[in-house]
């Protein structure tokens, strides 16, 4: 991978982090009237995967999909406006944080039903195969989604039909407060993929280079018609499941576990690496941050000053307005 791409991945991770921190800071003002699920701590997964995607490739996210939307190149102003439930939002205020969409860059909508996006992404991959184009689909989902039948049924189908889809499981060990080991026997997610007849890997999801390596191979397998791959990325969310609460200690996640993962911050690790490699320095760090901060400022200004939808729009869009 060229060094310019390293910087791009670094920038994407920073962009995700800083946007989400700003969302976190603004949430208390009660203007973002929608449930939010932050990916702070998990940035390397979306950044390392989406760097290899073309604009016309598809991604499908979940309730926690700010990171993929940003990494895939979704319109940031429209995303923030959607969080503020404005008419200018990417779903005109109908979706909110859990339902982001930007078809121009292959984001056909995220689902807040656990496992609900896995068949959909398998379906876009089926379309790529039928249409004989080389568009790839990446489906992002959590460890919790591997509990659902849709996960198993979709993997089986994709493997059977050799579909151009990459399943990216962001295993952050928890589904709300429920640990993976209280829901699964453990060690299973990537092995299931293997048993469904596709390559399955478990990797360090906080190492963006490792994520990028595996994603690159999986995506090129798809483009070459060799079928699906599953990549299980071990990672950790820093914030509570929902909103801006912290869920550490006191009957929730153990403090030591949390501290361990914070010490493995994907951005810190990558920036240290880049500095060692001589491609990043404090000036570049500052100028990237400056550019990102101004972008964020612009997006939040845009969102906060945008009009809300009007009640007269309530019945719009229930059905498609054209025939095919």
């Amino acid at each position: 991978m060229e060094k310019s791409k390293w910087i791009e991945m670094y920038r994407t991770m920073r962009l995700i982090r800083l946007i989400e921190q700003r969302i976190n800071d603004e949430y208390k003002f009660d203007e973002i009237k929608t449930p939010i699920h932050l990916s702070i701590g998990q940035e390397a997964v979306a950044a390392g995967v989406c760097i290899h995607l073309r604009k016309d490739d598809y991604v499908f996210g979940t309730h926690r999909s700010h990171a993929q939307y940003i990494a895939k190149g979704g319109d940031i102003k429209k995303m923030i406006a959607e969080l503020y439930l404005r008419k200018t939002g990417c779903a005109y205020g109908r979706g909110g944080s859990m339902h982001l969409v930007d078809p121009d860059v292959g984001i056909l909508g995220s689902s807040a039903i656990v496992g609900g996006n896995i068949p959909l992404g398998t379906g876009t991959a089926l379309a790529s195969k039928i249409l004989k184009n080389d568009r790839v689909t990446v489906v992002f989902f959590g460890d919790g989604a591997a509990d659902e039948g849709t996960f198993h049924e979709s993997l089986n189908f994709a493997s059977l039909k050799k579909l151009p889809v990459v399943y990216v499981c962001e295993n952050n060990f928890y589904a709300i407060n429920s640990h993976q080991l209280s829901r699964q026997v453990g060690d299973n997610i990537y092995k299931w993929a293997q048993n469904y007849g596709m390559p399955g890997y478990r990797i360090d999801g906080n190492d963006v280079l490792e994520v990028s390596d595996y994603a690159e191979k999986a995506i090129s397998r798809c483009r070459n018609g060799e079928g699906p791959t599953l990549i299980e990325c071990l990672t950790y969310r820093w914030k509570g499941h929902i909103g801006t609460v912290d869920d550490v200690g006191d009957g929730y996640r153990p403090k030591e576990e949390y501290d361990y993962w914070v010490s493995r911050c994907p951005i810190k690790r990558f920036s240290e690496y880049l500095i060692n490699m001589g491609v990043l320095n404090s000036e570049l760090i500052e100028s990237i941050d400056r550019e990102i901060y101004s972008l964020i400022e612009e997006a939040f200004n845009f969102a906060q000053n945008s009009p809300k939808p009007s009640p007269s729009e309530l019945l719009d869009y229930v059905y498609a307005d054209h025939t095919g």
């Binding site: 009237k33 439930l85 109908r94 807040a112 709300i176 829901r183 229930v318």
Partner: protein, 347 residues
């Protein structure tokens, strides 16, 4: 702040009077907790499973501490596998247990239609009553704070079309406890429809274990000029509307069916016989709703008693929008019930 909790905590503390005697006051969620606690204590066949039932939040507090008290064999967290869990509960029920399966949102139950509709609900009939499925599926509908299209559905109407499935939708703490107990002791699958906005509602609840017959409604407020039949949370809005109607000189009778299937048809007919007007308030979308079925019952059995066409106050036939402005336009309130009732009575 966690999401719908904000919304619920902001609600007024609505007290429903006259439900039972005594002066022990509980909230809806405390009443449910007590129903679970006492049922687990009374009957070793009862167990509770669902996503998050044993965590620190304990399904909005309704299952808190029960695992510690009754052990992890009887109160346990599950994988996120709604369809199979429903079948697993049904299988356990066939083998003699009394499972309670909890979906923290009614929306998630949509994943379980195969096991619920094709299997659990039909089993007793398909096999001539030789095998029964005594299970409870408890679901909670949410509303507000941008819950959105996938976290706010009230699909009780859709489920009324499923033969073999009983449906209860209590609105008061007294009924919540009594009907949960009835659902547990009933030997058919029972869907327990609950609304998050009822959780803070308070009322009198006796400490002892009691049950309430499934299929029996109550008059929540006597009136002469219009009957308002309200489903689940809409009872609160209906009672507020009735108060306002009284100020406007209109006497409204408020009927709480409590059970949707089987339904207390007599109470509807008797009330309409008195008032000659019927308004139905439901939490779900209008088409094919519980309100539709109630209207059909009235049309079949009380047509000759009606002075005016029946009115339904429901959500429009759109998915729930997330925007606060659109949410406001979407959800009917006491004000909408009031206006419709005035139209029916005055015009």
């Amino acid at each position: 702040m966690p999401w719908t909790t904000i919304q619920v905590e902001k609600l007024d503390n609505f007290f429903i009077m006259g439900d039972s005697t005594g002066n022990r006051v509980l909230t809806y969620r405390e009443a449910l907790h007590e129903a679970f606690d006492q049922s687990l204590a009374r009957d070793p066949r009862v167990f509770i499973m669902g996503e998050g039932v044993d965590d620190a939040a304990g399904i909005f507090g309704t299952t808190k501490g029960l695992k510690e008290k009754y052990g992890a064999d009887r109160v346990f967290d599950t994988p996120i596998s709604e369809n199979s869990l429903t079948g697993i509960a049904a299988g356990a029920a066939m083998a003699g247990l009394r499972p309670i399966l909890i979906h923290a949102r009614m929306d998630f139950m949509l994943l379980s239609f195969d096991q619920l509709v094709n299997h659990a609900s039909k089993w007793c009939y398909m096999f001539g009553g030789k095998v029964t499925v005594p299970m409870v599926v408890r679901t909670i509908s949410a509303r507000g704070w941008g819950s959105g299209a996938q976290h706010s559905q009230c699909i009780q109407g859709m489920l009324m079309n499923v033969p073999g499935l009983k449906i209860v939708a209590p609105a008061t703490p007294y009924d919540a406890k009594g009907l949960m107990v009835s659902a547990i002791i009933d030997s058919s699958p029972v869907l327990f429809v609950e609304h998050r906005w009822l959780h803070k509602t308070t009322g009198h609840v006796p400490e002892e274990l009691y049950s309430i017959p499934i299929g029996k409604g109550v008059i929540r407020r006597e009136g002469r000029e219009i009957t308002i039949v309200a489903v689940s949370y809409m009872l609160v809005e209906a009672l507020k509307a009735a108060e306002k109607l009284q100020d406007a000189g209109i006497s409204a009778e408020v009927v709480d069916l409590r059970s949707l299937k089987p339904m207390d048809e007599n109470i509807i007919v008797e009330s309409v016989a008195k008032t000659g007007r019927l308004l139905i308030a439901d939490t779900g979308c209008k088409t094919g709703s519980a309100a539709s079925e109630i209207a059909a019952v009235a049309a079949e059995k009380a047509f000759h008693l009606l002075k005016k066409p029946i009115r339904r106050v429901c959500c429009p036939d759109t998915p729930t929008p997330t925007s606060d402005v659109l949410e406001k336009a979407y959800y009917p309130t006491a004000e909408d019930i009031f206006k419709e009732a005035v139209n029916l009575v005055i015009e």
